[in-house]
């Protein structure tokens, strides 16, 4: 319980490190000394101090959507079994609420982008809804697999009750599923081969294109929410991967956080060794991720002794 609180706080505090970490890794690969690890903190502070400029076309939704979507992500975070301990707020079926809150945050960002009423933001949001509709499929596929594996219906139970024993039996399937989740993470956070976060070319953007017209504290909220979302998806991936009953308490927290940072490192590595996919290819990759979860499900149901 207390370690859950600790890791919740650490998530809220440390999540801006993830982008910095990724950037450092990329800089290392590029042979540059990249921006500081804490760059995002500086940016957030600066943005919070700045005032905002709204576009004339916007109808006030611009001011609302970043904060609302941030809150959605935070509330979604509350259901996660952070630091290997079940969330105190769990209830049966909260996984659905969790996923739909993420969906809502996405929808709000999209609406905010459409509110600005410019072509690039429309483009970004249209791409966003396209990919997210498919990543929703992958996520539910993973959830179905986990439910069939663990027999639990709350997020904590799902991620946190596949212990060493089940690793012994279904390790491969868990790997496949986590791979699918990894793909979803990449596409949702627009990292890696799916989107190029630090491109200057709007035509290649997804999330960044959606936030072109934000400024000041709104932009801060968006940046923060993005990194937090990265944390959330990363911990989804990690929790599936880590055997639940291996560690707990401080070591659990340590393993958890460190593996999330490791995930960030891997993202950095991938971003620096791979080129961005064409947008036509992204749905296929997502479907491949869905295929992974489906395969693991099928194996579980038919050869898993159920």
């Amino acid at each position: 319980m207390d370690w859950w609180l600790v890791s919740l706080l650490s998530a809220l505090v440390l999540c801006p490190l993830l982008p910095g970490l990724v950037n450092r890794v990329k800089a290392f690969f590029a042979g540059r000394s990249g921006p500081s690890l804490f760059q995002l903190y500086y940016d957030l502070f600066k943005l919070l101090k700045k005032g905002r400029v709204y576009s004339l076309t916007s109808c006030g939704l611009v001011g609302l959507s970043p904060w609302f979507s941030l809150v959605c992500v935070v509330v979604a975070l509350l259901f996660m079994p952070l630091g290997m301990c079940d969330s105190p707020l769990r209830f049966t079926g909260d996984v659905i609420l969790f996923l739909y809150l993420l969906l809502l945050s996405r929808l709000l960002m999209v609406l905010g982008a459409l509110d600005a009423g410019t072509s690039f933001e429309g483009m970004g949001s249209s791409r966003k809804v396209h990919f997210s509709a498919l990543s929703e499929l992958v996520l539910l596929g993973a959830v179905v697999f986990l439910i069939c594996l663990t027999g639990r219906m709350d997020l904590s139970g799902l991620l946190n009750s596949a212990g060493v024993a089940s690793w012994g039996r279904y390790g491969v399937l868990l790997l496949l599923t986590s791979l699918g989740l990894y793909i979803v993470m990449l596409s949702e956070c627009c990292r890696g081969p799916f989107g190029d976060p630090d491109t200057q070319l709007e035509l290649a953007m997804i999330d960044e294109a959606m936030v072109l017209d934000y400024s000041g504290s709104d932009l801060a909220a968006i940046r923060y929410a993005a990194s937090l979302k990265m944390w959330v998806f990363g911990s989804l991936f990690v929790m599936v991967l880590l055997p639940a009953d291996l560690l707990d308490g401080f070591q659990g927290w340590l393993a958890y956080s460190s593996s999330i940072f490791a995930t960030a490192l891997s993202i950095g590595v991938i971003e620096s060794v791979m080129a961005r996919y064409r947008f036509k290819k992204i749905p296929q990759v997502l479907l491949a991720g869905f295929g992974l979860t489906l395969i693991s499900l099928v194996f579980l149901l038919f050869f898993g002794g159920r």
């Binding site: 609302f68 079926g93 929808l107 410019t118 949001s125 249209s126 027999g151």
Partner: protein
């Protein structure tokens, strides 16, 4: 087997005691019906005097609906009586389906006052006549007992709705739409008649079931039987349309629950409903994605939502067939809850389209935009309902979908074979549908209310009159109330669920009764949902307030959208709704078959290019169109017989005379 032995739902027949309250309730309800009918007739008679006709109409609508509401709620324990030739029966099941009718009827009446204020064309009397009679007829459907009465009310309801679809008869092609609608209504009447006759005479349960599914599916809008719903119904005036697609579609399920007893072949019913639901849900939401007209988009989403309800019912039946009461109860209650939510939200949305139509005179999404500035309240109500209808927390649309997920999860955990397969499939399909629905509603909201306005005369647009806004507001508040009250609301479904799933209070050892499941399993989950949704909203409000204190919250300036340095972004630069969903439409083009008309820009000094994407309804393209064309072709061939030559006619006569003689004397060998 048939309608006869299905007794009142929540209690055995002998329980009916004509208590004072019951008698009071009955008479109140009958008075309400009478008021509806009479006011309709009066306003038709006074149609020359416009003001008095609409006053009488709306008065009768409000009074009648509220009386019926009062009577219905007063004794939900149920009653049945015989007034002269007619038999009425009222119970929980009826009440469940009456509530949307009455509430939407009431609000729709208020909305249509504003809707027709300056656009009556001297035909308000006609509108109110059909509107009030339609409401009365729907109520009668929920009260009718004997098959002949049910058929009568059913067909009358369809007819009155058809006349409402005809109401704007001057539009081009309105005749064709009205034709489609009439055909659907009549077909459902015929099939139901067949069903009742089978129930009478030919004792074949499966046939009875299938025919019933077709007949009522024609009202629900199952895939392939949905054409009238998505093509024709949007032609009706918006308030009436709200009532129709908000509460008349439900009546299809009412008929199934009331008159088609599935006992004995739950498994078949479950499989059928689930598959129909899956197909309908995905089909509806995909086609809705591609629609350019707001009304049609919403109509397709109604089809999708009916698919969701059917999915829930199917999961319920699958559960009861595999003795998995958790699955059964979760599915069924989710279906009913989603039905309620959909009625409320869809009513709000369609009335919203009415307001938009009156304010902007345009419903094509790509021609609209930026209306939120012009009509803020309509916009807010519309957007909230829209997001809610795409099944997202923290709105009421989420609760029903959530219960369906839970039911499917239970099916996965303890189901095997087909049940397992279908529940996995329904989880995945629900996920996909959720994603697509959010995209679709983003298109609707963004295209209509957000961004730069594409409307030529946007400056003249004003928000609509108060009554219409009040109607929308009332429905939005009601949907929020539905969210808050959902745990307790679901608790009331017990009797209905028992009746529909033919559980009849039967419990195996150590098992739970339906009521126990509802109160011990469903209630806490919904409570959790409600709490968290509420929490989210509160946190957002608090955050919005707190952030006002930040220095970064102060608004420095409003400038044109930056948009990577476009000097002056015009409305023609922003993404249209069509462009917004184009990747998805292309992705599903195997199903949607979009028809693309592209005018490329060419030459050194290109003139304007354009790209238009339309899509024809899948049912028409795939099935009905070819069928009707075939009949037309055959009949054109057959027309040659009436060739105008007297000699041919006489020859036909003589030849057929000899054929008959041959038949009689040689083939039959009567001699």
């Amino acid at each position: 087997m048939s309608y006869i032995n299905i007794t009142c739902v929540c209690f055995p027949r002998n329980f009916i005691k004509q208590r004072q309250g019951v008698i009071f309730a009955m008479s109140i309800m009958n008075i309400g019906l009478i008021v509806l009918v009479l006011s309709g007739l009066c306003s038709l008679a006074l149609t020359r005097r416009d003001s008095s006709s609409w006053q009488i109409g709306v008065f009768g609508c409000i009074v009648g609906c509220s009386l019926c509401l009062l009577g219905g709620l007063w004794s939900h324990a149920g009653w049945s009586l015989t007034r002269g030739e007619l038999q009425f029966r009222h119970d929980m099941l009826s009440l469940l389906f009456q509530l949307p009718i009455l509430v939407l009827g009431l609000v729709g009446g208020i909305h249509s006052v504003g809707y027709f204020r300056d656009h009556c064309e001297g035909r308000q009397g006609v509108y109110w006549f059909f509107y009030n009679l339609m409401l009365a007829c729907m109520i009668w459907v929920t009260l009718a007992v004997r098959p002949i009465e049910f058929l009568l009310s059913w067909e009358l309801m369809g007819l009155l709705c058809a006349f409402l679809v005809m109401f704007n008869y001057r539009e081009k092609g309105s005749g064709h739409l009205a034709w489609i609608y009439l055909l659907a209504c009549h077909a459902s009447g015929l099939v139901l008649q067949l069903m009742f006759v089978f129930g009478d005479t030919h004792n074949s349960e499966m046939l009875f079931l299938i025919v019933g599914l077709v007949g009522f599916g024609l009202k629900i809008g199952f895939p392939l039987l949905h054409v009238w719903l998505t093509e024709a119904q949007p032609a009706a005036p918006a308030p009436a349309l709200a009532v129709m697609s908000g509460s008349m579609l439900n009546l299809g399920f009412y008929g199934l629950f009331r008159h088609v007893s599935m006992s004995g072949n739950e498994f078949f019913a479950g499989t059928t409903f689930t598959i129909l639901g899956l197909v309908g849900m995905l089909f509806g939401v995909m086609f809705a994605l591609g629609q350019g007209n707001l009304k049609r988009l919403l109509a397709y989403s109604s089809m999708g939502n009916m698919g969701i309800v059917a999915l829930g019912v199917g999961l319920g039946f699958l559960g009861s067939s595999s003795d998995n009461i958790m699955m059964a109860v979760f599915g069924m209650s989710g279906a009913l809850l989603h039905m309620m939510n959909h009625s409320c939200l869809k009513g709000c949305l369609f009335m919203g389209t009415g307001s938009i139509w009156r304010a902007a005179g345009e419903l094509r999404i790509d021609r609209l935009g930026g209306l939120l500035k012009k009509m803020p309240w309509t916009g807010r109500f519309f957007s909230c309902s829209s997001i809610s209808l795409s099944g997202l927390p923290p709105f009421n649309g989420f609760t029903g979908v959530f219960l369906l997920y839970m039911s499917a999860f239970h099916g996965m955990l303890s189901g095997t074979g087909v049940v397992l397969l279908l529940s996995v499939a329904s989880v995945l399909a629900l996920a996909l549908a959720g994603g697509l629905a959010s995209a679709m509603h983003a298109k609707a909201i963004g295209g209509v209310f957000l961004g730069e306005s594409r409307l030529p005369g946007i400056d003249q647009v004003r928000d609509t009159c108060k009554t219409m806004r009040y109607a929308l507001g009332a429905l939005s508040i009601l949907s929020f109330a539905l969210l808050l009250s959902s745990p307790w609301l679901v608790g009331c479904f017990g009797g209905v669920i028992e009746h529909v799933l033919c559980l009849g209070g039967y419990v195996e050892e150590g098992g739970l009764t339906v009521a126990e499941v509802l109160w011990q399993e469903v209630f806490p989950l919904l409570l959790g949902i409600v709490v968290f949704s509420f929490l989210t909203l509160v946190v957002v409000a608090v955050l919005m307030f707190v952030c006002r204190l930040l220095p970064g919250r102060k608004l420095i300036d409003r400038k044109g959208a930056w948009d990577c340095g476009f000097a002056k972004p015009t409305s023609r630069m922003q993404y249209t709704g069509t462009a917004f969903v184009q990747p998805l439409v292309d992705y599903f083009s195997a199903i949607l078959r979009p028809i693309r008309q592209l005018v490329r820009v060419e030459g050194l000094f290109p003139t304007r290019g354009s790209c238009e994407i339309r899509m024809e309804d899948g049912g028409i393209r795939g099935f009905w169109g070819p069928l009707f064309r075939l009949v037309g072709w055959v009949s054109r061939k057959v027309h040659r017989l009436q060739c105008g030559y007297l000699h041919v006619y006489l020859l036909i006569m003589v030849v057929s005379l000899f054929c008959l003689l041959f038949w009689g004397f040689v083939l039959e060998g009567v001699l």
